[in-house]
Amino acid sequence: MDLRFGNFGFRAMRSLLAVSLTGAGLALATAPAVAQEELKIGAIAALSGGGTAWGLGLQRGVQLALDEANEAGGLKIGGKTYKLKLVVFDDQYNAAQAKVVADRLVTQEKAGFIFGPVGSPGALGSLPVTQPAKVLQFVEGYAPAILKNEWNAAYVFRISNSNREFAEPIVKWVKAKMPTVKKIGMIAPNDATGQAAVPILVEAYKKQGYEVWVDYYERGSKEFTPLLVRMLAQNVDLFELNSNAPGEAGLLLKQARQVGFKGPILQSGGSGVDEIIEVAGPLAEGFLKYDVIDNSLPAVSTLLKAYNKKYSGVFNGTSPIYYNAAHILLEAIRRADSLDTTKVRDELEKLGGYNAPIFGRVIWTGKQEYGNDHQLFHAFIIKEVKQGKGVVRDVVSSP
């Protein structure tokens, strides 16, 4: 039996070889006379596990930006034209996997530019690979160590506001718009996101004279009634959903209304108002939410059209963030007219004023907080759910 399998294996290998050689011959025969060179752009994204929605958003956002560049004839650098190819690997939202994946992108795929990962663990796991190798990395994740580290964040940029940037302006907005609110209630996930986001938000509220009540739950919980009842007993005036993921934020919103909470519910952070509406249904009415994009803007609606043409599923909030970042990188490469990551990094730092497609004028900040200006600062908005749709209520801060 073993021998028969061996013969089959040999025949199969022989056939495979013949097909491969024929295929290779055909490919050579039909190759264009002048081929574009390929430039690999790396991405580390959580494509399995808890952060899959964010990972897919990242992948799709970058891919759409690269598609646009390729359709426009490719990226011209130093007299050569490059076709851009996105190479994505899954980090499973895990630091050890992010290191392995970063290693593969840097040493095997020779990627000089990497997008992601989205969360802090993956970002902090991959930095020891990318920074010594002078590979430019564009990440999210709120952990300060992403920009405040032993490499002084030499080759890493954070491409969306962290809560350090938006916490205080949002609290000031609450103060101005809801003067009767005195006490804030927060329920947060007991993980890296919650532990990084909540203290900063609490500090911002307390600075404005608010009393704050906080409780935590395990990520993945679905039943929040006991926590919400405890919050009701505290007589809070405003329920703050902070950085909860869309699924959990939707459930908290729905269940808060079901247990009888009548006050305003606001989320300062997170992404994906549509997903929250989908979960909370009609009970989402009146919900206020921090958001980074206004779907009614022409640039965003164009992106949304391209997204819906290519992909199915909800347009995740991370897509426009990475789409915007990919455009910023491509512009810096064009200006540097080089693939040398140090030259591109220098151009990125000087890119202030470039009009990026989603967030507009590029402003780098963070010197005071992190010791370098590698934090993108961008405008953000407060959306209100009206008749099942998130509509822009206010622009809280604008660059």
């Binding site: 690997f89 290191k99 290693d103 663990p121 930095l127 160590a145 580290n149 032993e150 532990q195």
Partner: protein
């Protein structure tokens, strides 16, 4: 439960057989290949995978030691985490050398195992599995909640390498390989000794072993402590290699992975977790280009392997050896 009886591979009864038989020759050839590997133009990615594989092999072999007593722990990664945090805190907060961190990485989880061992090791089967699962979750919660010491869910970034020269991937590869050889070699020697025989006797029939004069609970507690101490060293090696530790690296998923490595490789032969580690590290890399489907395909492969080789991949060698023996019998 039956012990897998791959000739020479499964629980060699005699230390001399281990040192001179064909398994020893295969092991030496394998080690030589691993020593030569970095001298080939393979790139630091392969070295990184190799280093991670050595650390996983140490952790899986330490769990194997416990499995040989008949206990499957679903909280082994928690002890790995305790070792990692102990080493990182000793080197970063107390500013002591890595050697001191390594001692702490072994001692801290081993002491904890000595404390809880006499209680939990009285439980058997699913009850032990459940209790260790809950223990793992409690430890993870401590990592998350004790923010002043552990950095909470954000973990501890900027972990220094054991030595500045170990920033070089090739150097760390050899460093981890050295630890893997010493620790797995130690486990192999232990399992082939008198204690190893007691361990197998306990697994096969606890009451019978007790009647034969084996101090069952004492042996189990000592092996549990040793197993947890060794996995603590693996945790320290991982923390100083990745240069970042956080609770997600030592969660239930990681404990489950260590169990799967043992099941895939073979539960009752030390070569099992080594084969299982190779399978567990290499297969996902071969599937990496399938991106979204990578985990799905890997899951299907695991199901197929378990369905066709319930005794683990080590069963392939067993079947081959049986076939060869059969051929020799009918041969001229």
């Amino acid at each position: 439960m039956n012990t897998t009886t791959v000739s020479g591979l499964a629980a060699p009864r005699d230390g001399r057989a281990l040192a001179t038989g064909w398994p020893a020759r295969i092991a030496i050839a394998g080690i030589l290949a691993l020593v030569i590997l970095p001298l080939l133009p393979v790139g630091s990615f392969v070295l990184s995978i190799g280093t991670t594989a050595f650390i996983t092999a140490i952790a899986a072999a330490s769990l194997h030691l416990l499995i040989r007593t008949g206990h499957v722990s679903m909280g082994h990664a928690a002890f790995m985490g305790i070792g990692a945090y102990a080493s990182v805190l000793v080197t970063m907060k107390l500013q002591l050398p890595f050697a001191a961190g390594l001692v702490a990485a072994f001692v801290a989880p081993a002491i904890l195992a000595l404390l809880i061992g006499p209680l939990v090791l009285r439980l058997a089967g699913k009850y032990f599995v459940l209790v260790t699962f809950l223990f793992g979750e409690i430890v993870r919660m401590v990592f998350v909640e004790w923010t002043t010491l552990t950095g909470g869910a954000n973990g501890i970034p900027g972990v220094p390498p054991p030595h500045p020269r170990l920033l070089d991937p090739q150097a760390y590869y050899y460093f981890a390989l050295g630890f893997a050889i010493v620790l797995i070699g130690f486990i192999a020697r232990l399992l082939s000794s008198e204690i190893g025989r007691s361990i197998d006797a306990i697994r096969e029939g606890e009451n019978l072993a007790e009647c034969s004069g084996v101090p069952v609970l004492r042996v189990k507690v000592c092996i549990f402590a040793l197993s947890c101490g060794i996995v603590g060293i693996a945790g320290a090696l991982q923390g100083h290699f990745i240069r970042y530790i956080d609770p997600t690296s030592f969660s239930m998923v990681q404990s489950l992975n260590l169990v799967v490595v043992n099941v895939i490789g073979g539960m009752y032969a030390l070569v099992g977790p080594i084969i299982g580690t190779a399978f567990f590290m290499i297969t996902p890399e071969l599937l990496r280009d399938y991106v979204e489907l990578q985990r799905v395909i890997f899951g299907i492969i695991i199901i197929v392997v378990i369905a066709f080789f319930p005794g683990g991949l080590v069963e392939i060698a067993q079947r081959r050896a049986d076939a060869l023996r059969g051929k020799r019998k009918v041969g001229p």
